[in-house]
Point group: C2
């Protein structure tokens, strides 16, 4: 992946607040929305996407039953009455991932909670509620990044990690 | 569903240009992006979402193998460095649906193509390409509409139809 595409990918993932989440729901694909933050270890060797979900949500039950999911992060499109840039040109990335529930006793709970709350300070109250849980997404296999019109590329977990790391320190 | 929620739902579906599409990909959920338009019959009894996809796309192959999908349409969130409205409050709707490929000989091909091109005039060139196809999505079962914070509701196909119909004539 060339540096310009890597930069665009890192910025896309770091700048957005919500992702679409595809889960397996009673055997069929289901699409819902989640807020997400990113977390990386100090060595820059591990990248997680982090969310905070209610145990009552349908997608939470889906992930408990089947942790293989996919996230889609999309650049904002223009709003209004006119057609925006052709939507095929909108940058977006599909990230297959494995969901893991992180309970309060997990050694990484504190650092993951801080990463999430840094992006979503208004969520602090919800951390007091017993039925909410942190869920991490570990990228699994290749992601698919569309950088613009006719600029689709396959992205390894290492390339994804590097793109987010550079954007985070840029 | 109260009239205010119905109005918000119809506006959401009519005003957006892209949806997230959850498909079954080699047995696992996958999330990608599609442009979409809406189409209704003259009697207002039938609602379809309409897209135009390349036969080369992964989600096209997914839909050919397994036509049960789910669309997610999300209101735009604020962009920038600050947390937007709590993302849990972002209006969005998850619509389970059945995908159907509409070839050029199909009696509805012309009217569906017009509905799509009315929203996406720049796509006209792609209708000349043999490897692109119209795909319709017929809502199947209940949709899930989140109108705002703690305002989630189940929406029948008839309620979905009515909400889009009213917004289209508003």
């Amino acid at each position: 992946m060339d540096p310009a595409a890597s930069h665009l990918l890192g910025e896309l993932i770091q700048s957005r607040f919500v992702a679409s989440l595809a889960t397996l729901h009673e055997g069929l694909p289901y699409a819902s929305m989640i807020p997400y933050a990113t977390w990386q270890d100090a060595a820059g060797e591990r990248l997680l996407l982090v969310t905070h979900v209610s145990r009552l949500s349908a997608h939470t039950r889906d992930m408990l039953e089947s942790p293989r999911v996919c996230l889609l992060i999309t650049a904002p499109d223009a709003t209004g009455d006119a057609e925006p840039v052709p939507p095929q040109a909108l940058p977006r990335v599909s990230i297959p991932a494995v969901a893991e529930f992180i309970d309060r006793e997990h050694p990484d709970h504190g650092t993951l909670a801080r990463a999430y709350l840094e992006k979503f300070p208004s969520a602090a109250d919800w951390f007091q509620l017993g039925d909410f849980s942190i869920v991490t997404f570990t990228p699994a296999g290749s992601a698919r990044f569309v950088a613009g019109f006719a600029r689709a590329m396959t992205v390894s977990a290492a390339q994804l990690q590097a793109a987010v790391s550079i954007a985070g320190h840029g």
